[in-house]
């Protein structure tokens, strides 16, 4: 719980180079992905990532609402990222604010870059992301959840989209910022990777970084994404495993 009023900058990095939660600079928070967490959606996923709790659902391909958005040569991809009123310390007014609308747009565009939308003309693929509990990195958690949900819905894509934020804390480049690091750090750089091609389909940055720091951040982010990618694939394998999963005794 943040102190209302007082803004003391906490020590983000110990002399040993460890972070406030004991992680190393290149270490991810605990990430648990459950594919197919909901019953009504065509595809869904629940992601617990550090202290983030995010659920994503995919509907479609289905009829386009509103009609005038319909495209004759491909599916439209509509994304809605929303935060629950109780997901943050200070109650957020329900509904989409400007931040949520921007995030919805860039996530939607990231998915447009990998979904084979031309396979489903005159339809809509609707992606819904709900943040139930937020602790920095919710857009990346949302992307990971939505990506697994799309796969769960059977939507053909170039690849899954692992995502993570890299930042600068106490002068050092660190992977996967948690809330205090995000609030008091010097920079934040969320990204989403297409593992097959090694290209980024989401990239945002806020703060201060040198060219050299940015280069290191990108390297670190891509490595983080590849680690997350394995967990996403594993979640889908668990969801669709037939019979005992490898490793379990028969």
């Amino acid at each position: 719980m943040g102190n209302v009023g007082a803004k003391e900058v906490p020590v983000l990095l110990s002399p040993e180079g460890l972070r406030i939660d004991g992680r190393r600079l290149d270490e991810l928070r605990a990430l648990r992905i459950q594919a197919g967490a909901l019953h009504q959606a065509d595809g869904s996923a629940f992601v617990e990532w550090g202290a983030n709790k995010v659920v994503a659902a995919v509907y479609g391909p289905r009829e386009v609402h509103p009609r005038h958005l319909q495209q004759n040569n491909k599916a439209v991809i509509q994304c809605r990222y929303n935060m629950a009123a109780f997901s943050v310390d200070e109650r957020k007014r329900p509904g989409l604010d400007r931040r949520s609308q921007e995030i919805s747009k860039v996530i939607g565009e990231a998915f447009e870059s990998v979904v084979f939308a031309e396979e489903f003309p005159r339809t809509s693929i609707d992606i819904y992301i709900e943040v139930l509990q937020a602790n920095a990195g919710t857009r990346c958690a949302g992307l990971v959840a939505a990506s697994v949900a799309l796969a769960d819905a059977g939507i053909p894509m170039v690849d899954l989209l692992p995502a993570v934020a890299v930042g600068k804390i106490g002068g050092a480049i660190a992977l996967d910022l948690k809330k205090e690091e995000d609030n008091f750090g010097e920079a934040d750089l969320p990204m989403a990777l297409v593992p097959q091609s090694g290209r980024l389909v989401l990239l945002q940055m806020e703060g201060h970084m040198t060219e050299e720091e940015l280069a290191r951040s990108l390297d670190l982010g891509v490595r983080g994404c590849r680690e997350i990618y394995e967990k996403m694939k594993q979640a889908l394998r668990e969801r669709y495993a037939v019979g005992p999963v490898a490793g379990a005794s028969a």
């Binding site: 909901l38 959606a41 289905r62």
Partner: protein, 262 residues
Amino acid sequence: MSEEVDAEIRTTHVLDLAAEGKRLDGRGPDEYRRITVEPGFVVTADGSALVRIGDTAVVAGIKLEPGKPFADTPNAGVLTTNAELIPLSSPTFEPGPPQPGAIEVSRVVDRAIRAAETIDLTRLCVTPGEKTWVCYTDIHVIDHSGNLIDASLLAAVTALAHATVPAKRFGVAESDYPLEVQHVPIECTFVRLGDTIVVDPTFDEERAAQGRLTVATDETGRIVAMQKGLVGAFSPDDVKETVRRAFRHGDTLRELARGAPP
């Protein structure tokens, strides 16, 4: 569209089964689906709960903030209940302003919380006429497989029963303290399917329903709220019988709401 044909077939099937005293999922007319309650599901909230009734899932979160009391009730705190039927939870919900369905859920849940005097509002008051706690209950439906009212109120009262007043954080008192819940209202919803009245309707049963009736009871034997919804009718005898059933189920659900502290 095929969805309408599918709905038509399911409705007919639900009603045919009801005529034989059966339900699609094999339950008896007076049986709830499996209910699970998880208090403290959201740590950013001052109180929270994830409630599942069958395939329906609802998350409720409480936020308490200091604010100004209403001019006509200077000694009372402020309670606000809001239900979001987000498009994530059902293929039938669309983005946009709250639909009448969401507003009805919000209001029916709010009415039960208020009428049961779940929270003693005077105890939320800090300085009469100037400062009081404002208690927001936000309800997020994440999986809609029917009976949102019962699931939403159960989530809300569970969250309230496990909530903490963040008095220290807002500099109102030396330390945080538990929010005091004096009564626990429970809503039980029934729908008419032909001559049978079944409790805890699924999505398909709500669509086939010839009337819906919700009865809110508390642990002292009071009926604190009722709501008849959807197209259809109930006789006075139907209503009396439904109330008896609501009291019986209410006791079971109330135990879940109180549960063990998180």
